[in-house]
């Protein structure tokens, strides 16, 4: 593979920019491209370059403001165990083939798209509970919501149980313990 800029010398520097575009440059063009000379030490051979995949910037999220090369070195092209789609296919098409691809390709999906799960649940714990939608007013599948609501109820009862024990209200503690057992048994 020749340098894309001078088209004469062999390309030894491979990277993806913030727009996700791949670049292959020779050492001289690469050094002039990066005025800070940060690409020294990132030289790879063409064979090694074949094993590199760029972290896909499929969605317009800037991966990082740093001009560092954005390759992730992997030993082989990852495949989804369910639909057998490969990381390079996903990278090219920009679409995942099945729900299991999310866990199979977690290392190449941008962190920006990870949900605000902990933030949302914390907001729920802080009391912003919406009526009718269950757990903190955020929608989630009914089965999970019921499990989460059950867990919150258990945590509340356990906290009350600890408080009852510490204040030596053993009759109340016994009732709370029975309630906890009943919910656990229902699980």
């Amino acid at each position: 593979m020749n340098c894309e800029k001078c088209k004469n010398k062999k390309a030894t520097l491979f990277y993806a920019d913030e727009g996700g575009r791949r670049h292959a440059l020779c050492a001289a063009c690469g050094a002039s491209f990066n005025k800070l000379g940060k690409y020294e030490g990132y030289t790879v051979t063409e064979e090694e370059a074949e094993s590199y995949l760029p972290i896909p910037n499929l969605y317009g999220y800037p991966r990082t403001s740093s001009p560092e090369p954005l390759y992730v070195r992997i030993e082989e092209d990852i495949k989804c165990p369910s639909c057998h789609a490969s990381a390079s296919e996903i990278s090219d098409s920009g679409e995942l083939k099945c729900p299991h691809c999310y866990s199979a390709f977690a290392q190449i999906l941008p962190p920006a798209i990870a949900g605000y799960a902990t933030v949302g649940y914390a907001a729920g714990a802080a009391g912003r509970v919406g009526a009718g939608a269950g757990f903190c007013g955020a929608k989630m599948p009914i089965a999970r919501r019921r499990a989460a609501e059950k867990q919150i109820r258990l945590d509340e009862l356990r906290a009350k149980l600890r408080s009852a024990i510490s204040s030596e209200s053993f009759e109340l503690a016994a009732k709370l313990r029975d309630q906890i057992k009943a919910i656990d048994a229902a699980n």
Binding site: L58, G94, L96, C98, Y102, C136
Partner: protein, 345 residues
């Protein structure tokens, strides 16, 4: 009633409000497993029948029909590219469930005017109806999953169509875009690839995962209020001084709609904008103009390109024929609405 058939609606800056949920199956996305998709399609049919939904008749290969439904905001445009698709309407046509697009389930509540909370209730109930019978693809980290990773998360979108002529006229559209952007929403022209979009903009907001839906809907509604207030202030300041010009514009526009033999989409949108502005600023002149506010919505929904072709039910060979069909459709709708107007005293 569907958003463009709501009779008695007063002229408003908000044409429609929409809440949309996208959902996929935990076992498959659309392209990965046809057998699972066909089973889900059959199951959905049974659920819809049992809950009083009407299945829209879409002839095989009818791209025009699908695009016409998409133009009316009922279904996503991606449905046109899938071979397995169904569309279900509830009785007042305020709730639409489509199956088989890029995201398998697309649930939309679409109401006329500023009615976000009602739309949220309707859509939420429909989503829970399906949740009981389908196992949706969901992850603690990414939320509701989609083939397109940028669409995963809450899978919920709030949107509305806003009529903002002053924003275009006085050039503060960018200010409104920034206002929307700082909220986390987007403000884009309706028919973004058209030169003239009739001063109609779509304001949309994708809910972040874990957010309280009712709380976010209230916040979004207050953003709509701020934008409409900003628009209204500018309209009052300047347009009131140009009453004669604007009423004349509206009258000429109505004349064109009533008598033109060919009408392109741009001309239609321009005329609708002029009439809508006059009705908003001078509602007392509505009788003189002899047109109701909801007729404007009906004209908008029925006379866009694919809707015109679908309504005409004929094939056309060139744009000129389509423009002719559009003009005759507009005249027919106006004649029907005029007949339905109360007699002037």
């Amino acid at each position: 009633m569907s958003w463009f058939n709501s009779e008695g609606a007063l002229p408003s800056h908000v044409l429609w409000s929409r809440v949309r949920y996208i959902r996929n199956l935990s076992s498959a996305f659309y392209k990965s497993d046809e057998k699972t998709i066909l089973e889900a399609q059959k199951k959905l049919f049974e659920i819809m029948q049992g809950n009083g939904f009407r299945k829209e008749d879409i002839p095989d290969g009818s791209q025009i029909k699908l695009r016409s439904l998409a133009e009316k905001q009922f279904i996503p445009y991606s449905l046109e590219h899938s071979s397995i698709h169904d569309v279900y309407f509830n009785e007042p046509c305020s709730l639409i469930i489509s199956f088989g697009g890029k995201d398998i389930f697309d649930i939309r509540a679409l109401l006329s005017g500023r009615a976000l909370k009602d739309a949220l209730n309707i859509a939420s109930q429909a989503e829970e109806l399906l949740d009981g019978d389908f196992d949706f693809a969901y992850s603690e980290t990414y939320g509701y999953l989609s083939p397109s990773p940028k669409d995963c998360g809450s899978g919920a979108e709030l949107s509305c169509a806003l009529f903002l002529p002053a924003a275009r006229y006085f050039g503060f559209k960018d200010e409104l875009c920034l206002m929307a952007d700082s909220f986390g929403a987007t403000l884009l022209p309706f028919l973004s690839d058209a030169q003239n979009h009739g001063d109609i903009f779509i304001l949309s907001y994708t809910l972040p995962l874990g957010a309280n839906e009712k709380f976010e809907a209230e916040r979004f509604d207050s953003l709509i209020g701020k934008i409409v207030e900003r628009e209204g202030e500018s309209e009052r300041i300047i347009f009131d001084k140009e009453r004669i010009i604007n009423t004349e514009r509206a009258a000429r526009a109505l004349g064109e709609l009533n008598f033109a033999r060919r009408l392109c989409e741009d001309e239609l949108l321009y005329d609708l904008s002029a009439i809508r502005l006059a009705l908003l600023l001078y509602p007392e002149d509505a009788t003189e103009l002899e047109i109701a506010a909801h007729t404007l919505d009906k004209l908008l929904a029925s006379c866009l390109s694919c809707s015109t072709l679908e309504g005409a039910g004929v094939e056309v060979k060139d744009i000129g024929e389509c423009d002719g069909l559009r003009a005759s459709l507009v005249r027919r709708i106006l004649a029907e609405s005029k007949a339905a107007l109360p007699a002037a005293t």
